[in-house]
Amino acid sequence: MTVETAESHALLGALDRFKAAPVDVARYDTDTATAARALRAAPEQVARLAVEGLPHLVDSEHGPLFDYDDLMNVGMFCGTGQTVPELGLRFLMRFAASPRASWFAPREWEVGVHPSRTAGGEGAEAPGADDGRSAVTVRVPDLTAPGVELLSGGPFDEPLRTSGYRAAIRLTGTEQTVRDPRIHEAWAEVVEALAARRVIYQTVPEPLRADHHRAWELGIADCVVASRLLADRLRAAGLEATARRGYLLGLFGSDHAWCDVVEDGVHKSLDPVFAFVATVGDERGVAESPEFAAACFGSRFNRLLPCRTDSAEPLVYFDGEPAPYWAMAGVGARPRRTA
């Protein structure tokens, strides 16, 4: 494969911009070659990360082993604009720059959820591949959620199903605003903490997502942490609120979480991470969009597919345990083909 590598010192610059996974939740299982592929870097650059302080274990056979979430954060914060995490965010958020009406109009999608078995964010295996390794379980679309209509595929009677699935789904967004001052207050608290960088928006390991209050206190959050925290604050204020999790559909399908609150009997979506990114823009190529940030406070978008969760639990499991970050490489999405 021909790829240009990051500048020699670019990756090192990331080390001061995020917080490494706490040792008790980190999984040091990614070798240098895999890390180099994921970061579009040379193995020597990855080795330098270890020397300069990126946490790792040294394995006698495989050399330094890194936590994959830490590596994704190196990619996200290195500032080259060329790593998979940077590019993924840039491409997935490009819909925010599309005309406003396109955020909400009914849209039909073909979705394929066939989690990758290969680390490095690369090389998802062919759907149906059965190599005798870990059993894969995935969460199914939530067909009871507002704006979600199954066109083909399924059945999705149980929240989880083995292996993957393919489905055609119509998603209909809606433009809504929020009135209740309690929701305004909780929303501002979470979004402003991110915008002021008091809490760093970064990849968070799944075990720490499950302890979202600890993550927030450590000063780190991703979409799951922020949405769970927001839902907690809203419930504490007496509102009916749930952290949701599903797929952001676009060039591919990406694991994403947001919050659902009920106001005047109407379900409204609150997306603190989208709002944060659209508020401050992003040096990785996401444009500022106050209009889109405002829409994240109450409106429902036509490319967020909610799955059946109680509180934004993981979407994919290997042998009953949350699957690694890289499993998401095998989630595909595309506008539905019409005859």
């Binding site: 998979v84 993924g88 599309s98 690369e122 490489a329 595309r334």
Partner: protein, 81 residues
């Protein structure tokens, strides 16, 4: 801007973005990338390669259309005229 016109040239361009380039040899022009097992990281690289080829960012609808060799060819071909 470098216009890529032939389907073979398009395939070469896509191959350069794949972790396992031989995968593309098994794909017909209309076969779906995701169904064939091309992962998100590779799709990202295909999109980046196209942006570099075209010399401009792809719009959201263009990104959504990057689903097959022929779709990529159409995008570049349309740009070349």
């Amino acid at each position: 801007m470098t216009a890529v016109r032939s389907l073979d040239a398009v395939r070469t361009l896509i191959k350069s973005s794949l972790e396992h380039p031989a995968l593309l040899d098994r794909l017909g022009g209309d076969d779906d990338f995701a169904q064939a097992g091309i992962g998100s990281g590779e799709l990202i690289r295909i999109a980046l390669t196209l942006e570099e080829e075209l010399g401009r960012p792809l719009e959201d609808e263009e990104l959504l259309g990057l689903t097959s060799v022929r779709a990529v060819a159409a995008l570049i071909g349309a740009e070349a005229h």
